[in-house]
Symmetry: C2
Subunit: 126 residues, 2 copies
């Protein structure tokens, strides 16, 4: 089963990030940077950050749009737009059940991003 009917489209997906060694290990190629930047750009917005966090910490790890809208003083199309952005870069999964649409965080994609930024071994200071 894996995916719902509508989200079989890869968009650009987690694959975009799961490609490179950590940022600090070796110079990123121009191509790699072009693939990774959109994913970070999707995250680099206060509303989308909160949306992703809200979805992730929701019961069962998924939330429908109606649950998310109440947390913001923004119009419904705006929330819908932000969710679309997060979905397009592969950070959010989308599944429609009846009238409701449920979003779920793709933890693998998020973990890939985290690994990219993580500092390998000798961090020393802190």
């Amino acid at each position: 089963m894996s995916e719902s009917a509508s989200s079989t489209v890869p968009t650009l997906g987690a694959v975009a990030v799961a490609c490179c060694s950590p940022l600090v290990s070796e110079p990123l190629s121009a191509d790699e940077a072009l693939r990774i930047a959109p994913v970070l750009k999707a995250l680099a917005e206060p509303v989308r950050l909160r949306l992703l966090s809200l979805v992730a910490s929701h019961a069962d790890g998924e939330a429908c749009v109606c649950d998310l809208q109440d947390a913001f003083e923004l119009s419904q199309p705006t929330i819908s737009h932000h969710l679309k952005v997060l979905h397009q870069v592969g950070l959010l999964d989308r599944s429609k059940r009846g009238v409701w649409v449920y979003y779920r965080v793709r933890e693998d994609a998020l973990a890939d991003l985290g690994a990219l930024l993580a500092v390998p071994a000798p961090v020393a200071a802190r």
Copy 2:
């Protein structure tokens, strides 16, 4: 109004990120999102991603602007601008020695970002 020789200037710094539990653990507050987003936004640009990666993987972990410019087909002011953005959010340290300015990755700030995106325990697939 140039900053002091070393980067004692707070700008907004690594502190902005080292504040919150992982994104997926509990809902991010609006304030936290507003602090974190600019740091991610600084990274969410292909040239800046490569710049940071270049600096990090350079000998001794630091690089002067002259070394970085040659890696891009961009004007010197553009590179300078991108470095400034990375420095302002606390991802890059700046130190002037003679005529040259050396940048160094703040690994603690980067690691904090990585920790924010990391998924705590049950990652499952990969």
